[in-house]
Amino acid sequence: MTKLLQTLVDSIAVGSLYGLIALGYTMVYGILQFINFAHSDVFMVGAWLSFLVAVRIGGQTATVEPSVAKALLVLLTAMVCCGALGFTIERLAYRPLRQAPRLNVLITAIGVSLFIENLGQLKWLFGAMPQPMPRLLPDRPLFALAGVNVNLLDVIVVGTAAVLMLLLNWIVFGTKLGRGMRAVSYSPPTAALMGVPVSRIISFTFVIGSCAAAAAGFLYATKYITLQQPAHETWIRLGLKAFVAAVVGGIGNIRGAMLGGLLIGLIEFFGAAYLSPNLRDVYVFAVLILVLLFRPAGILGRATVEKV
């Protein structure tokens, strides 16, 4: 029972991070029908920027007093900077290829990804060594449930992710801007005829997807402390799992991305806890294969025949 609950807590915390990252993949796919491979790098940059800002405002690890105000400052800085990064990537790398075949854009995305990973390793940026994230948020047991400690930090991680997801859900389904996004994702030329500024909507999509990834980066750094160097495979693997979450939930579907994130978190952690911890990645990809075989449009995805 204890193990079950502990696993549940862990998987929800990680699953909500996957969900946050998956949102960026799924929104860009929904609008441009291409997989933005550089998205996991935006997540990585979000984590590293959080580290840089935290160190700048707090000094080294031990000396930072946990403070919600500081944590918020770090989070917002990371989100704003990554938003700008996402905007720039789209503007410089993808927009010139708007009319080009998808494969060209895909290859460009891989190029952008490699560029960021290598740029990030420069000494004056993030460097090529792992670093410990200063503790910005108190990490103490909040309450015990059937012998399982629920940590304040886990609650903050899940809570922040949930708030951001709700915010995004509201933007997409409750605002005029969101209606524009959904129109562009259905048909860019028709949306343009309605007076929707298509290029601006695409920019905006990259910006909010990148903000969500930055928030995930911040939460990841706060929870796991150790930041591997920018080109480390940890980042790629996390990004890949988030991508799997987007596909499993139904690529292009925002609520699907959130659901997929949680599902992947659950499968990974329950597999690791009850089957074998060495195969955790295998479970995730096995689920991907199963979904692609039996429900290729994803759990919440609709079959793609609806386009007129």
Binding site: A192, G195, V198, E306
Partner: protein, 237 residues
Amino acid sequence: MALLEIRDLHVHYGAIHALQGIDLIIEAGQIVTLIGANGAGKSTTLRTISGLLRPSAGTLAYDGQSLIGQPPHEIVRRGVAHAPEGRGIFANFTVAENLAIGAYARRDKGGIARDLEWALTLFPRLRERLTQSAATLSGGEQQMLAIGRALLARPRLLLLDEPSLGLAPQVVQTIFQIIRAINAAGTTILLVEQNAHMALQTAHYGYVLEVGRIALHATAAELAASDRVRRAYLGVA
């Protein structure tokens, strides 16, 4: 001054020379029809006016100002709305959302509400179905939605691409009556049709497009009476 004035307009799709120097004038307040066979370049003309396509040569002046190089959303803002061929309904939206997105370029809440009311008065069927998914509408209702949605942009010039396509004759009659009502309320209309019979009955003036060139133009009554049009487009032997 004409509301729309097109001079020597050329449009290419890669190597395909779809419009080969057309001239077309639309006087404010009129219904002008552009008829022609499938593939003549009618939709291309509309897509060029609304900014989806960039002409390779020629001029395109709306209300005395060039539209060339303007993005589509800016052209909508200036008062040109385009109900595209095949209707372009957002099947992932409700009927109400489809109508609302037609007003995307506007900010005048009161005006939008008035135009919505007017569109629903013209198309009462849509009022009954506001909360329904647009995908559940019949073809005729979808065409009504496409026109109603275009009205939400409060156009001075309304571009309609084959509104009768695939509809039963009765529904076509209804749609054309409403087109006349919209025009009577002051909106200038460029009506693209393959149904030359209905189009010439409805329009004031007409252009005949043949493989990328204007073959004929005259008042609708004159065109309907001309041998050439009767033989090629009205099915009269």
